[in-house]
């Protein structure tokens, strides 16, 4: 069940009505309903993997209790490692086994040994990377005495499987989400309206902008050998906006949906394309994952409180692991490594925390220096996205090589845009519109949070109507969200 599908458009109101009109009196009923709805939501993809989700939830639920009951550190550590090994083991089998088997066979082939790796023909369970990280954060926080164990399976189950965040995040923390689940939720009209507005903006970004950009990005990346540099540049530009609108659109829908049900989720995006350097970009892009790696990997490794070379090592480790988290392919690892390289000058010059404030706060336009910083960061990010989008590293290198050739200055290949110039002009317009709205709303939680709130009501509703009409107009094929594959 996709957020941009008709089935979700039926599912959500049904859950909303049951939640606020039937189960509203009692916390237990609210949580039972949320858990049942979440399991139904997940089973609508593939009911077989529901058992994996339940097993993973039960594992962390019981190991969590065992950690809290352990009488000494050795036992605590045993239960922690049991949970970590089983969770990571599942992830390794379902997501990475084939990659390791194939890579191992390639290495052997390099030395003249031909082996046929035994590969698993299994599909990747949707959301496994996300709910595994939920569970891990819970047991690690318990181990570090940051939280108390959750004894109520229903509440814990909702924490792991809450349907808005189940398949593509944001990656929640027990310290943030569990207290909300333990508390009875009351209907709040203002928050619900705000949630609806965020859902609307998320849907618009996904259905209208991301899917329009996807048409071009897919065609150009799919046949990159046949296009000149300027067309390939457009391909990566479209992908840059596709992935942002796809993933941040998904996050907006998730946050808005949760808010409709009285739950606040962690923010996942904070206008990353307005970042002035790559460190700022990573504080604003997929925040819940970056902060997860920061808290559970970077800081335990010593973080920034170690010598220079160890800091460099730590940065490379988190970026490489982050890349590998995205998928079992060398392209993601190179993407991670490239971002680590981008980060290095800032780290070595101790400037990685120089842009903590919102860009041009309280001003209409950025300064020239800020603009240069934003454009440079955007271009660096675009280059990195080529690796993210390509199927192999040599393909990415060839793609980039063709962009940086004389053909960059030739007119684009018209056959890449078979849908005609109307669509291409619309795509440019949509990107411009996105940038303007997001720039105006960059000091808010999401671009539309306060946009138009002070306008004359009919004007504001006209804007909502235009967004809704655009969604209905562009909605066609139920396009998968990119991050579902991770």
């Amino acid at each position: 069940m996709l957020f941009n599908s008709l089935s979700f458009a039926i599912f959500l109101p049904v859950v909303f009505i049951l939640y606020w009109f039937v189960a509203n009196k009692d916390l237990k009923m609210q949580n039972v309903l949320l858990l049942a709805a979440s399991y139904f939501f997940y089973a609508s993809w593939d009911y077989r993997f529901l058992f994996l989700l339940i097993f993973s939830t039960l594992l962390d639920y019981f190991t969590g209790i065992k950690i809290s009951q352990a009488t000494n550190q050795r036992k605590k550590r045993f239960w922690l490692w049991l949970s970590v090994i089983v969770n990571v083991g599942f992830l390794a089998i379902f997501k990475y086994y084939n990659f390791f088997a194939a890579s191992f066979a390639e290495v052997l082939a390099h030395f003249g040994f031909q082996v046929n790796p035994w590969t698993l023909k299994v599909i990747l369970p949707v959301g496994i990377s996300f709910y595994t990280f939920h569970g891990l954060s819970y047991v690690i926080d318990l181990y570090n005495n940051k939280i108390k164990p959750e004894k109520d399976y229903i509440a814990y189950g909702v924490f792991v499987s809450f349907f808005p965040l189940l398949v593509a995040g944001p990656i929640e923390r027990a310290t943030h989400l569990l207290p909300q689940i333990r508390q009875h939720r009351s209907f709040n009209y203002t928050k619900s309206i705000d949630g609806m507005r965020q859902i609307l903006w998320g849907l618009f970004k996904k259905v209208v902008i991301a899917d329009t950009c996807a048409d071009y990005a897919n065609t150009i990346f799919g046949h990159y050998t046949q296009f000149n540099g300027s067309t390939l540049f457009l391909g990566v530009l479209f992908f840059t906006f596709q992935i942002y609108c796809d993933f941040s659109g998904y996050s907006d829908i998730a946050l808005g949906t949760a808010r409709l049900l009285g739950i606040e989720l962690r923010r996942n995006f904070a206008f990353p394309y307005f970042s002035r350097d790559i460190a700022e970009f990573w504080r604003r892009w997929h925040i819940s994952l970056s902060s997860w790696f920061r808290d559970y990997l970077y800081i335990p490794l010593g973080g920034s409180k170690v010598g220079t070379w160890k800091k460099v090592r730590n940065i490379f480790i988190i970026f490489l692991v982050s890349g590998f988290w995205h998928g079992a392919n060398w392209t993601f690892i190179v993407w991670g490594a490239l971002n680590a390289l981008y980060f290095m000058p800032l780290l070595l010059l101790n400037k990685n925390r120089s842009n903590l404030e919102i860009v041009a706060k309280g001003k209409l336009f950025p300064s020239f220096k800020e603009l240069v910083g934003m454009v440079t960061t955007f271009c660096l990010t675009m280059i990195a996205w080529v690796f993210f989008r390509s199927e192999t590293v040599p393909q990415a290198l060839e793609y980039i090589g063709k962009i940086f050739s004389a053909s960059l200055f030739k007119p684009r290949d018209k056959f890449a845009f078979i849908n005609g110039s109307t669509h291409l002009a619309i795509a440019y317009f949509l990107i411009l519109f996105l940038l303007l709205v997001e720039w105006r709303g960059r000091e808010q939680q999401y671009a539309l949070a306060r946009f138009g709130l002070r306008w004359y009501k009919p004007v504001r509703w006209t804007m909502y109507y235009i967004l809704i009409v655009a969604i209905f107009l562009f909605m066609g094929k139920e396009q998968q969200f990119i991050y579902f594959q991770f």
């Binding site: 046949h223 046949q226 078979i418 849908n419 109307t422 209905f472 107009l473 909605m475």
Partner: protein, 285 residues
Amino acid sequence: MIILRNKLPGRELDKRLEYIITGKINSDIIVLGSSRGARGIVASQLADSFHTTAYNLSYPGSNIYFHEYLLTELLKNGNKKPKLVILVVDDSYELGENYSLQFRFDRLYPLVKYKSIRNTLIEKGEKNRILSGLFIIHQLSISNFDPRKEKFTYLDTLRDDGSMPVSWQDPNFDRSFGSKNVAYERDKEEQSKIESFTHIVRMCRDNKIVVLFACAPTFGKPTIGFKQRITELAGNNSFVMQCDTTNPVYRDADYFTDSTHLKQKGAAIFTTDIAAFINQNKILN
């Protein structure tokens, strides 16, 4: 929205699909294909050769799925059943992946006022059935809001017989003949395209229509094994024709607009060759 939707067909210069949907095609010979069929075969010349009626339903940038769709609609909407269908096959990517050949949804959207078009868009996954039934806006495409009236330029024109021959030449056209021998790669074929191809063969057989698969000339040697593959899939009741590339005309750059398309005078010669093949094999007898 209803007014907009219902007025859309009036903006179209290319009425061929609307003729099919409304059952107005009345020809004994139908030509299907991509731009190679549109530019490379002159339907009126065929009609004159056999003293019959011929119409070209080739669409530049269209693939086998679109040809299958056109033939299906042609046979079910009360159009005259043709005696002969000429399907111009693209050497060498008729059955393989090619980004420049697509199902031409852009030709369908101006005609969304017709239910059968809406159903096709739903079946092809472009639109949702329930939303399409509930909201007119969901039936449309953003291109429907383009107020400009369609017009043809010297690059593409459409004759009354549906053919689109052109007389210009691409300035980037490399005028050296491609003499490299290239072997056809079956592993690049897509199963769904093979199924569409065989469906066309089956439809023609079931409706007692003769089908001729014509490999249009390119400015280079034909792909080795392509004709054989088409013959294999075409079965016994169909004909496969490949032009004689030793003919000096097909090695003369002046007869081509670019490396894959014939110019108007090249199209006249290729059409003559097809007529000769039809006569030789007594296809219309």
